[in-house]
Symmetry: C2
């Protein structure tokens, strides 16, 4: 059965040598010195390895069940959740005014990675609460903040997002759930919502549902949608819990994975709700949750891949099978370990280069969020808005692929549930789908984010890449292995952008037929930039001669792998994009 160890050395490398967080002027970052973040990550690692990881496989096998209309989570989840709360882990970046620890969002992501790697399904209960907390903090009235934030900040109550209905997923304009205004200022919410993660459970005494619904007078489509706070148990004026609200669990879905998290059909039968934010502006308020959720899903993509990689690596070192083609490396035993075989290396290098690159990209994204929200920096706001669909789409596509690679290392044993590798694949699969399927991320990227703010964010990104290359061209060692491939990849991305500008005006299908490839191309360039920054940091550390030289040399070698073997994918993506709409759109719907 898989175990997990938090990769704290690599996390510290990203925080302190790539991002140099304690030298960043974002409010709160000065406190993030190496000892402080190290202590946090080590402690998070302990609870992850000791408490959460042991419940991962059992949670998958046992799943959630509905008893008397209430969801019962798998054995041990309740106790583990209590322990997480007691340690303050569920409130790490919450506002101290409501009892949070007040740390930057970045630290919530770093610890979140650890918890997700150990047990993704379990961690979703607090992940969704984080989103609900943020939405109420951003859009709630003072009374709403007072009523909910202190409870949500540390998961005394948990939160959910209610968007999807049976006939409407991406296209929320088709929504049927209704909100009827009442005389006391509340609304009666009626309708059915599906795919509600953490929709109910036994980990907290209340669940605060944030529900999109149509209130009268808002017009057609998404314009008529508002966001409502609908508690499972009504809250009295004094903050105590009152009567049960008219919201119930219709059923728990049978899913491919994340069995430890209850995905519920929620029925609202005239439930009492309160408007959150402005009437008919619910989409905007919901996007506060969605953008954060999308970053977290990108994180899930590589965090599960990290866990899968750890097990594949251990198996490749232990399992004796065949001999190295260059002669026995383990002559005392009847066979060499799998890791001597070049194709196993290829597989492991792909996993390692992906998870380490993805970690840098995600932490960088989280730092941009902090810079935007804590530092009020508009350029960072624009950049993270641009990068969010890339982080969500690319890291989950590649994260899933990486878990499949990890499973493959086990051969037939990987297909047996007992080994735990199947679970990583099944769990990772949802990350490509929820919070906007990856095709929708690609659409968001190409149709909205590229042209946003007159193209400033994308231009800023290109300038940043160019600037980095120029600044470091003097490093002979970096040039051929890192900077030259990064330059070529960035050129491919620019060429794709130019193609969209030239062709998209005439035929929007030409841009949209290439949107998925563009997302992937962009993801590769981001990874190439991250690996180049990592190489610079490792190179500098080796020049200084301090620290763990083996670690830095491995970092450089892993980066070289990415630049030589993965980054050339940008040319393929560009070729696909430049083939335009015709190959994709030629058939009539009937001809499929």
């Amino acid at each position: 059965m898989p175990s997990y160890t938090a990769p704290t050395q690599d996390m510290q490398f990203v925080l302190h040598e790539v991002l140099k967080v304690s030298h960043d002027d974002t409010p709160g970052y000065a406190d993030l010195d190496r000892d402080f973040t190290g202590a946090i990550l080590e402690e998070a690692g302990k609870i992850a390895s000791g408490v959460l990881a042991p419940l991962n496989a059992s949670g998958d096998a046992e799943g959630c069940r509905l008893e008397n209309g209430m969801v019962v989570t798998p054995s041990g989840f309740k106790e583990a959740f209590a322990e997480l709360k007691a340690g303050g882990w569920t409130a790490i970046d919450g506002d101290p005014a409501y009892g949070g620890q007040g740390l930057p969002y970045l630290m919530s992501c770093a610890t979140g990675e650890i918890f997700v790697s150990a047990n993704m399904a379990f961690n979703m209960y607090q992940g969704l609460t984080h989103g609900a907390y943020s939405a109420i903090q951003a859009h709630g009235t003072e009374a709403q903040k007072a009523a909910y934030l202190a409870k949500l900040v540390g998961c005394d109550w948990t939160g959910t997002m209610n968007l999807t209905e049976p006939h409407c997923g991406t296209d929320l304009g088709l929504m049927r759930t209704k909100a009827e205004p009442q005389e006391d200022g509340s609304y009666r919410i009626t309708g059915q919502k599906i795919f509600i993660s953490a929709g109910d459970h036994d980990l907290a005494e209340n669940v605060i549902h944030l529900v999109l619904a149509k209130a009268p007078g808002g017009g057609e489509g998404t314009k008529g949608i508002s966001l409502f706070i609908v508690p499972k148990v009504l809250v009295n004026a004094d903050g105590s819990l009152g009567a049960r609200n008219a919201v119930s669990v219709g059923k728990i879905e049978e899913k491919m994975g994340i069995h430890g998290n209850a995905t519920c059909v929620m029925n609202y039968d005239g439930a009492t709700g309160w408007l959150l934010g402005d009437l008919h502006k619910g989409m905007r308020a919901m996007f506060t949750m969605m953008n954060e959720a999308r970053l977290s899903v990108g994180l899930q993509g590589y965090a599960v891949a990290e866990a899968a990689y750890q097990h594949a690596r251990a198996y490749a070192r232990e399992r004796l099978q065949g001999r190295a083609v260059t002669g026995p490396e383990n002559p005392a035993d009847p066979a060499d370990p799998l890791i001597v075989h070049p194709d196993i290396r290829r597989n492991l290098m792909a996993q390692k280069a992906f998870v380490e690159g993805a970690r840098m990209l995600t932490y960088w994204g989280a730092a941009l969020v902090d810079r935007a929200q804590r530092g009020g920096d508009a350029a960072s706001e624009g950049l993270i808005s641009l990068l969010t669909p890339v982080i969500k789409g690319f890291l989950t596509d590649k994260g899933f692929e990486s878990t499949v690679n990890a499973q493959q290392v086990f051969g037939g044993h990987g297909y047996i549930e007992e080994q735990g590798m199947s679970q990583f694949v099944r769990d990772a699969r949802i990350t490509m789908i929820y919070e906007g399927a990856n095709g929708v991320q690609a659409l968001d990227l190409v149709a909205r984010k590229l042209a946003a703010d007159g193209g400033k964010p994308i231009m800023g990104f290109f300038d940043m890449v160019k600037g980095f290359i120029k600044e470091n061209e003097g490093h002979g060692e970096l040039k051929a292995g890192f900077l030259d491939p990064l330059k070529a990849a960035s050129k491919d991305l620019q060429a794709a952008g130019m193609f969209f500008m030239a062709e998209g005006m005439k035929n929007p299908n030409a841009a949209l037929a290439g949107s998925y490839d563009f997302m992937s191309l962009f993801g590769h360039v981001c990874m190439g930039l991250m690996w180049s920054r990592a190489a610079l940091a490792a190179h500098n550390a080796l020049e200084r001669g301090d620290g763990d030289a083996d670690f830095y040399r491995a970092k450089l070698a892993t980066g070289r792998y990415y630049m030589a073997r993965e980054l050339p994918a940008t040319a393929l993506r560009l070729a696909r994009i430049q083939s335009g709409a015709d190959p994709v759109m030629a058939l009539s719907a009937e001809a499929f």
Copy 2:
């Protein structure tokens, strides 16, 4: 719940317009006229849609169970198996001397595709029997043939392959199962075998296990391995069933998918077995089964993808979500069907182009088998030996990817087991692993098959591609869309081969680090050749003006998609190969 319709029009196109089977001088092919094959495929389609497909999801949900040491298959499997046998489907290419239908292997593949698409797990019971039949036919004594073939030919008894042991998968030299010679000429077989598909069940009264074991005097490693026939129930001299043999099911594995097929731990406790083929030459005899099995697994890869594609296509036509970017196409309803969206098209085109191309490649491979075995053609024997790892590895990698694409079309609904899309993904996943994990296929291709027979087969392949291009360069319409990209892709493949020749001599790791990419590159070139041949056939039919013009036009458009959007992957594969061993082999085992 998914339904399935056999794509008989496309199958007929491949048989009669691409392969032109009835004009082929392979023995038995002259009988394969259009009406005859059409009738067979239609009938197979009926039983697939009416009997097998309805048991696919229920078989997955119910799985197999062990009762009093015997495997019980899911409800309905027994009756369906009886129906399949009664229709003669299980004996389609068996020798008429033993009661088979005597049709070419090609027709067994074509009907096999239909049955696998409808219910992969179910079809494995007869698939493995086919392998056991072939091994006994090729290597058995006359007495063994008389005793077993008439029973195996139509699945009155079924067969298994027993290779893997807990500590030995790919590396069969580590095998521990022992065979001790007895005075009566039989052997006592003792050991444990794992991952035995169809290891036991209630569909037939006997199971004939073909078991690899070490008999005394054979020496170390794979040299000491022999193959044995070990029936579940011993067979008396008169052919009647005797006592139970000392072989039992240890347990049924809990797997990611193919739940309808019992994957068993088999315990041999001094079981009685008989040598099949020569002593200590068991690997050779087993490879008779393995090569056939590998082709069948490649077939499974795309056959499951075909079924998944059919459902994704139907969902994309029905599900209303969003509006076409070029203006509403379904103004009467509140939204357009998914299929109007370019990124959904990209996804569906990728699936369609893959399954149709894979079908051509597999049928071509089957025709090569017939030409080699029925026609005694050595060149075909060499070519199919070269192509087998490509067909197995490439079609299962892409087949799995294709089922993931199909699942993605469903958004969140794809993740719910009820929709059936998860099952396709979970079932398809095993095809990349069993009968030699795909990394082992790549190794086989690069380390053995490329240099086999002085490189004659691969040179023959290149000549064939070149000849085809030269012969058809006059077709202006084919040149830019098909022949030019095929030429470029074929050049990439040749360049990769040259790189291996130049570098592999100095450093075998340089070739092996690129083996997986080479397999993929080769697969793409094969698909490019197939699509070019299909384009020629469709072009000719349109020129003649007979037949279903819409079908031919769709065929050309689908081919153009493949050539423009998928085939350029060869350049990426070549770049990865040419980066050599360093990026892959740089780290020490400890540095991962």
